[in-house]
Symmetry: C2
Subunit: 206 residues, 2 copies
Amino acid sequence: MLLALMGGKALTATELSLEAGTTAQTASSHLAKLVSGDLLLVRKQGRHKYFQLHNYEVAQMLEGLLNMSANKKPIEVPTGPKDPSLRNARVCYDHLAGKIGVDLYSSLVSNNYLYDNKDTALLTDSGKQLFSAFGVNLQELEQKKRPLCKACLDWSERKSHLGGSLGKWVLDEILSNKWAEREPDSRVLRFCDTGLNQLKSKYKMA
Amino acid sequence: MLLALMGGKALTATELSLEAGTTAQTASSHLAKLVSGDLLLVRKQGRHKYFQLHNYEVAQMLEGLLNMSANKKPIEVPTGPKDPSLRNARVCYDHLAGKIGVDLYSSLVSNNYLYDNKDTALLTDSGKQLFSAFGVNLQELEQKKRPLCKACLDWSERKSHLGGSLGKWVLDEILSNKWAEREPDSRVLRFCDTGLNQLKSKYKMA
DNA sequence: CCGATGCTTCGATGTGCATCGAAGCATAAG
DNA sequence: CTTATGCTTCGATGCACATCGAAGCATCGG
């Protein structure tokens, strides 16, 4: 299971139990031990529990163990839907998900606009400046019950994308600018070329 | 036991069993497994068996594991005699042992005069040049049954010092030059200051 | 509200494995 | 030679722990 998590993705308990070739009960007890031993951390999302390696040290330790053992390759676990367009960009409730959403999130983090702490996400000072300059009324959003930023675990990518009221604002902007449009009866978001470029330049995505 | 071996010293099975707090039998079975799993390697020396970590990868792997565990410090196992002069320099059969012997050996290796392969030691080409220039008749020594060079595990330091006929030659030279003299009824070698300096400069010891 | 899904807790079962006593073998020391 | 030391093999014992069925709880979807 740890091997499967070496891919960097967060996986559910059931996925991990299948990977390990055991029942869900067995996997559950092992995962509980791994969590209590601070090797893994959990993100509970609805009825799912997503597990991921606790930090870089754990990965490093496993790396060392893998070096010793015979089969050296980490395992790639296929996740999410097969439909490529659904994997690429889609709506998660009211915010952007899929590969593009994850890319956006990691850009915000690497450009120091967003502080990522696994479960939570916080706007940095320069992040607040950025979105204020975009015309976002941060004070108004912060007064609501709903958190401004949320690290939401992406279904297909298994990494964080941006949720919360700010995530909603981003998606609203994408739709109102016609950078992308929703497919009817589907969660798929279809970006047009110019729209995608606009998004990328606006958020300094690689 | 692995933790105890992280100090870099080679330890005997009994020492390791004491360290682990088990009987000799238990330790023996564990050590056999560790050896067959290529985590450790053994050097049999008389009735003793000296164990040490197999290579750098193992140490790295353990390092990673230690990072995770609570007590982070490798253990120092006291070895050999308490008498400081005995630890510093002594005779091992007919060659130099103790701290100075180990230092000499590692100098030869780091200056590329000697090729160290854990159990065995071989003179490199430049090593052959060096000792030939010192007046050693290598061809004569190589014809004897006894190996020219031997990596002999040091009792107190638990690292290699130089044995074999070349090791004997080195000690003979030390004694004939009066760089050191043997204490009566003891294996202690007592170097004089100038003698030690001569030795160090001759073999480019740090 | 109901069924389905995801996960956990409880309890029982079996086995793998560490542990050690006793005996055996090799080497060293006297 | 004999005795002591270091290590291993064999065999018996017992515990720890993985495993899974069954039941329970929470969440989702209709």
